[in-house]
Symmetry: D3
Subunit: 286 residues, 6 copies
C-alpha cells in the first residue's frame, strides 16, 4: 500500500470522530509547555484550524504566568504569590493585562497564518466575563477574582461567522475594575455556560496521577465522584486541584466529558478528538 493510500486510510479512520464532533463546541484551556514552546505553540494553533475545518467549534482560553513574570521582571517588580495565586495590585494588574494581551494576539496571528480565522478577546469584550473578588484563606490578594457571570453572546456571534474565539483570563468587577482570574477555573465556568461537548485542559503532566509524580500511576478515566474524592482526600497535587475543579464544573454544567491531557506531546488535541487513543485523563459521568 502506497504512502498516499495510508494517508487516505487515516482520514477514513478519523471519519467517525469527525462526524461525532461536527457542530459541537470544545473549550480548550491552553497553557504550559504547549504555549511556552514556540514550535508546540504553532502546532497547537494548527490543530485548532484543523478542528475548525472539520466543523468542530473550538473556543480557546489561556492564562500566561511566565509572560507576566517576564514583564514584571523587566519593569523591576518581583512577582508575589499566596497559595499559588498572584498578589495583584493596580500596577501588577496593568502589567498582567499587557502581557496577556500581546500573547493573545500572537495566538490569533498564528491561527490566521495557518489559514484559520480567529479573534482575540479578553473578558472585557462584549461583557464576556464578570468578576467577583476572592481571597486566599482570609488573605487579601488585590485584584484577583473568579468569573461570576458569563455573557456568551459575543462568542456566538464569532463562532457563527467562523472565527475561533481566543480568550485571555481577564474579567471585569464592580465599578469597572479589572480583575485577574485563574484561567483553569475560568475554562470550567466557560465550558459550563456554553454547555460545551468537551473541555480539554492542556497541562505539563501525563494527566491525573494516583501516585504523584509517578507517570505510571496515570488514571485514564474517572467519574466526577472519584475526582471529588481525590480532591477531598488530598490525593491530588496542588496544581491539579483547579484543573479537576474546572472539569467538575464543566460536567455539572452539561459537558459530556472533560479531559486533562499532556500538552507536551505534539497534537495531543487532535489525538484526543480524532483517534481512539486513551490520552491523559478523561472525566465522564459513567
Amino acid at each position: 500500500m502506497s504512502v498516499y493510500q495510508t494517508r487516505a486510510e487515516t482520514l477514513i479512520q478519523a471519519l467517525p470522530y469527525i462526524q461525532r464532533f461536527a457542530g459541537k463546541t470544545v473549550v480548550v484551556k491552553y497553557g504550559g509547555s504547549a504555549m511556552s514552546d514556540p514550535a508546540l505553540r504553532a502546532e497547537v494553533m494548527k490543530d485548532l484550524v484543523l478542528m475548525q475545518a472539520v466543523n468542530v467549534r473550538p473556543v480557546l482560553i489561556h492564562g500566561g504566568g511566565p509572560e507576566i513574570d517576564r514583564l514584571m521582571e523587566r519593569v523591576g517588580l518581583k512577582p508575589k504569590k499566596v497559595d499559588g495565586m498572584r498578589v495583584t495590585d493596580a500596577e501588577t494588574m496593568e502589567l498582567v493585562e499587557m502581557a496577556l494581551g500581546a500573547l493573545n494576539k500572537d495566538l490569533v496571528a498564528h491561527i490566521q497564518a495557518a489559514g484559520g480565522k480567529a479573534v482575540g478577546l479578553s473578558g472585557k469584550d462584549g461583557g464576556l466575563f464578570a468578576a467577583e473578588k476572592i481571597e486566599a484563606n482570609g488573605k487579601d490578594l488585590g485584584f484577583v477574582g473568579r468569573v461570576s457571570k458569563v455573557n456568551p453572546s459575543v462568542l456566538a456571534t464569532l463562532t457563527d461567522a467562523g472565527y475561533v474565539p481566543v480568550i485571555s483570563s481577564i474579567a471585569v468587577g464592580e465599578g469597572g475594575q479589572t480583575f485577574n482570574v485563574n484561567a483553569d477555573l475560568a475554562a470550567g465556568t466557560l465550558a459550563a455556560s456554553l454547555k460545551a461537548e468537551k473541555l480539554v485542559m492542556m497541562t505539563d503532566v501525563e494527566g491525573v496521577l494516583s501516585n504523584y509524580p509517578d507517570p505510571k500511576s496515570l488514571v485514564s478515566r474517572m467519574t466526577p465522584d472519584e475526582a471529588k474524592g481525590m480532591i477531598k482526600s488530598g490525593g491530588a497535587d496542588s496544581g491539579m486541584i483547579p484543573k479537576l475543579q474546572a472539569c467538575l464544573e464543566a460536567l455539572e454544567g452539561g459537558s459530556r466529558s472533560a479531559h486533562i491531557v499532556d500538552g507536551r506531546k505534539p497534537h495531543s488535541l487532535l489525538i484526543e478528538l480524532f483517534t481512539d487513543a486513551g490520552i491523559g485523563t478523561m472525566i465522564v459521568r459513567f
Copy 2:
C-alpha cells in the same frame, strides 16, 4: 512517534487541501471496477462521506453497463451495440431504467450506512436532464441521446441541505420520452453547468496513456489543447475519447481541473483531493 501522532500528522498534512476545497462542488463520474467490485463500492461511498464531512460538495453521476447487460440477459434479450453505444428500443429502455434505478438506490444506501446523507435521482427528477436524440454515424440507435439542457435547481436544494446527489444517466426528451445517455458525457455537461471546481472520472485504467496500453506511458498532466490534439490525431483509444470530451466540456464550462483516475486503486478520490500525489491524468488550463 506513536501511531496516533502519525495519524494526527496525516490530518494536518491534509489541512491545506481541506481548506482549498471547502464549499466547492466536485462532480464524480463513477463506474468501472470501483463500482462493480462490492468492496471498492463500499469504500468509494465512504470516501464521498468523508468529502462531505470536510465541506466538499460531491455530486455523483453513474452509468451501469454491466448491470443493464445482466438484466437484459435475465429476460432473454441480447445487448446490441453500435460504435460502443447501446441500441435502445422501448423494451431495452425500460430495462435500462430498472437496472440503473436499483443500482442508484444501492449507492444511496451505502452513503447513508456510512453516516452520510444522500438522495438518488435520475435526470427525470426535478427536470434535471433534458435529452436530445443522437445517432451513430447515421445509424439509428433508438432512445439514445445526449443531455441538451441541465436544470440544476434540485441539486442546489439537496446539497444546501447536506445531501449528496447520486444521479443515474437517464434523461427526458420531447414528448416525455425516456432516453439513455452516456454517463461520461453527461458528467462533463453537469460539471460545466454547475461550474464545478473539479470533475473526476473514475475508470479502469491508470489514466491517459500516450502509448496505449503501456501503463508506463501515463500522461500526468495535459492542457485542453493537448487533449483535443490527442482526440483528433487518433492517439486516444476509443474508451478514452468520451472521457476526454467530458473533461474538455467541464473546463470550457468553468471547472478548474478535470481528472481521469484509476478507480481500481482504493481511495483514489481521497488521494486525488487530499494529497499531493500525482494520480492519473489531470487536465488543466496551464
Copy 3:
C-alpha cells in the same frame, strides 16, 4: 350564463376548500387502476400538480404489484404469496426494487410534464424508512418488513422547495438489507409521522362496503371505533384490512381525517379535496 362564467363560478366554489387546505400536507397512497391505467395515471399526476399549485403539500406513496409480477414473469420467476404478502427472496427483492424504481421515476416524469416539480424517492433516500422484518402467522416471508421508523427530514427539504415527494415502498433493515414493505401500511405510518392533515387511500372499490361486494352498501363515514370493530368482526374483506389499519394509524398519529376513495373515477382526489361531494369512505374522529 356563459360557459366561462360557469368556470369562474366553479373556481369560486372551490375557494373555501383551497383556503382550508393551503399549507397542509396530504399523504396519498396511490395504486390500483388509477396507477395501472395510463390515462388515469396521467390524470392523477395532473391532480397532484393542481394541489401543489393551490398550496397543498401532497406526498405520494405507491406500491406496484402488477409491475413487479410482470418483471418476475419476464425473468421466468413465479410470484409466490402467503396471506396476500409476497414471499421475497434476495432475487425477488432485487426485481421488486427495479420494478418500483422505474415506475417511481415515470410518475415523477408525469408530474414534471404537467408543469409541476417532483423528486422520486425510495425509503433508502435520506434514510427515510427503517424496516423491521415481519412474518405471516409464523411463516417466513424473506425480506418482507414493516416501516419501524420514519426520518422525514428529506421530505421537508423537498416540500419546502416546492417538490412533490414520490415514494416507493422500500425500506432498509439492520445491516443495510433492503426490505419490501406494504405500501398501504407505510402510507399510514408516513401520514402519522408527518401529522398530515389527510390520508387518502386510492383503491379499486367504491370505499368501505358494509355488505361486500354490494356497492350500494357503501359506508360514507366511520369513526375509528367503527373501523376497528369492522376489522375485528371480520366484516371487512381482506384487501380492505390494511387500508383501514393505515387510516387508523394516521388518525392516531394526528391526522384530521383518512379517506378510502375510488381511484377508478377520474379526479377522485380533487373531488375529495375541493368539493363537498361525499366520495368513498371518510374515517374521522367525530
Copy 4:
C-alpha cells in the same frame, strides 16, 4: 360525468393559467358598476381572494366618483367638472378623501370577510404616491394632480406578508398638500412602477369599441401603436382615453399585457385571468 367531475375538470382547465400567473403581480383598476353595485362588489372582492389563494399578487386601485358626488350633495355642495376632471378646492378635497377612505375600508372588509387578507392605503401611506399639479387646457382645477413618483416599498412589505393592497387615488404634493388624482392614470403609473405582469381596467363597457357605442365593434386585441393611433385620430371616446393611456404607460413600463374589461359581467377578472375567453380588449406588444 357527475357534476363534481365537471368541477374537477374545470379546475384542471384552469391549471395552466394558475401556473402562468403564480407569483406575478396584477394591478386592477376597480370602478364603475362592478364597484357601485353591492352584489358585484362582493363578488369582485371574492375574485381577488381567489387570485391570492392561487399565488397571484393582486394590487387594487380605485377611485370613487359617485361616492364623492353623494357626499358633496349631502353637505350641500355641487360637483363641478372641467373636461371630465373634478374641480377640487380645499373643502372638496377633504370630502374626496373622506368618501374614498370609507369606500376603501369597505373593500378591505369584504376581502377579509371572504377569508383573504387586505390593507387599505391611500397614496399618503408609506409615501406611496407623490403628486404634481395639473391643469385642464390652461384652466386651474385646484388640487388636481397626477402621480409623479411611486414609492412602492410599502406594497412589497404588504404583498410579501400576504396582504392585498387596496389603494385609493389620493397623492401628496409639495408642502404636504393632498391631491386628487385620476385613478385610471394612477393605475397605469403604478403598474409600470411595479413592472406588473398585467394591468386590468374594469369599466362599464364591453371594451374598446371601434365604432362607439356599437357593442359589436369590440376590438379584442390591439397593439400599443394601434391604441396610440386611436387616441390621436379621435376614434376613442373621451372616457376611454385615460384608460388607453394607462394601458400604454403600463406596457412601456414593462407590463406584458393591459386589458380593458367589462366589469358589469360577473367574474370578469377570473375569466380574464384563468380562461382562454377573449374578454374585453387586450393591448399587447405583438
Copy 5:
C-alpha cells in the same frame, strides 16, 4: 459651555432612556388638543418620528369626536350621546368612518413629512379589531361596540418593516357590520394584546386629579388597586374613567406602566419617555 455642548449634554442625558426603550412597543392613545390644535398635531407626529429613530416602536391609536361632530353638522345631523357615548345609526356610522379615515391619513402624512414612515389602518385592515355590540345601561346605542378580539399580525408586519401603525377606532362585528368603538378602551385592549412596554394616554388635563378639577391635586403615581378604588368610589370624573380602565387593562395584559399625560404641553410624549420629569400620572404595579 457653548450652546452646542449643552445640546450634546442633553443627548447624553437621554441615553439611558433611549437604551431602556430600544426595541420596545409603546401604544399611544392620541386625542384632545394635541390632536385638534394643528401646531401641536405636527409636533406630536414629529415626536413619534423621533421615537422611531431611536428604535422605540410606537403604535398610535386615535378617535376623533370633534371631526365627527363637524362632519355631522355639515350634513345637517345632530350628534346624540347617551352617557357620553355617541348614538350611532347606519348613517352616522358611515360619517364616523369618513371623518376618522381622513383624519387618520392626515396623521400619516405628517409622519411621512417629518421623515418617518407610517401606514394608516382602521380595525378592518388585516382583521385587526373584532367588535362586540355594547349598550349603555340597557339603552341601545346602535353600532357602538367594544374590541372583543385583536389580530395583531398586520401590526407586526408593519413595525418590523419600520412603519408606525396609525389606527382609527373602528372595528368589525358579526356579519361584517362596522362598529364605532371607544378609542380609550381600544388603546388599553391593544396595549394588552401587544404586551406593550407602555401605554400613554394623551388628554387635556394634567393627569389624574384627586380633587377634580384642582390641578394642584395631581396624583403622580398610582397602583392599579388605587386606580380601581378611585373608579369605584366615584372619585374619578366621568371622562377619566375609561382612561383609567384602559390603563388597568394594559397593566393586566403585561404592560410595565400606563400613563395619563397632558397633551396640551408640547412634547409631553418625549418628556415622558426620555427624561426623568414626573409628568402626568403613572400607573404602575409597585
Copy 6:
C-alpha cells in the same frame, strides 16, 4: 418653557441629523487629550454609545504614543524617533503591542460600562490589516509599516451584531511579522475600504490652521485640492500632514466628508454629527 421641554426640543433638533446618519459607518481616529485625559476618555466612549443607540455604526481606531513611551520608560528603554516615526526594533514592537493592547481593552470596558457593546481588535484579528514595511527617507525604522490591505469582514460581523469595533494600529507583514503602523494613516485607509460616510480625526488643535499656530486662522472647510495644495506648499505643520493625507484617502475611497476636530472640547463627536455647528475643519468635495 420648562427645562424638560427644552430637552425635548433639543432631541427634536437632532432628529434630521439622526435620520441622515442612520445605518451609516463613521470611522473615528481617536487620540490626543481626548484619549489621555481620563474624564474626556469616558465621555468620548459615551458619545460612541449614543451614536450606536441612534443607529450610526461607529468604528474606532486608535494609536497610543504616550502609553507606549510610558511602558518603554518603565523597562528602561528610551523611545527613538526619526521624522516623527518611532524606530521599532523587536523589543520595542513587543512593548508597543502590550501598551496598545491594554489601552484597547480599557476603551472597550468603558463602552460596555456605558451600556454599549464593543469588541477590541488589533490588525491581527480576522486578518484585518496587512502591513508593508516603510522607510523614512531611506532610513530603516525597523518594524514600521503602512496598511497595504484591509480585510474588513470581521468588522461587518461585529457591527451587524451591534458591537463597536475598537481597533489598535497594529498590522501583520509577510512571514507573520508584527508591524507598528501610523494610526492616522490607517484610519484613512480603513475609512476608504469601508466606504465610510465620514472620517473624523480627533486631535489637540482647533482644526487646520492657515497660519499655524494662530487659532484664529482656522479653516472651516476645504476641498481635497486645497488640502493637497497645503501639503505641497508646506503650509501644513508636520503633525497635520498625516491627518490631511488620511482625509484625502478616505474621500478618494468614497467617504462623503472627512473632519479634523478638536478632541479637547467635550462631545466634539456629537457636536460634529448631530448639530449644525461648524466645528474644526471639514474636507469635502464641493
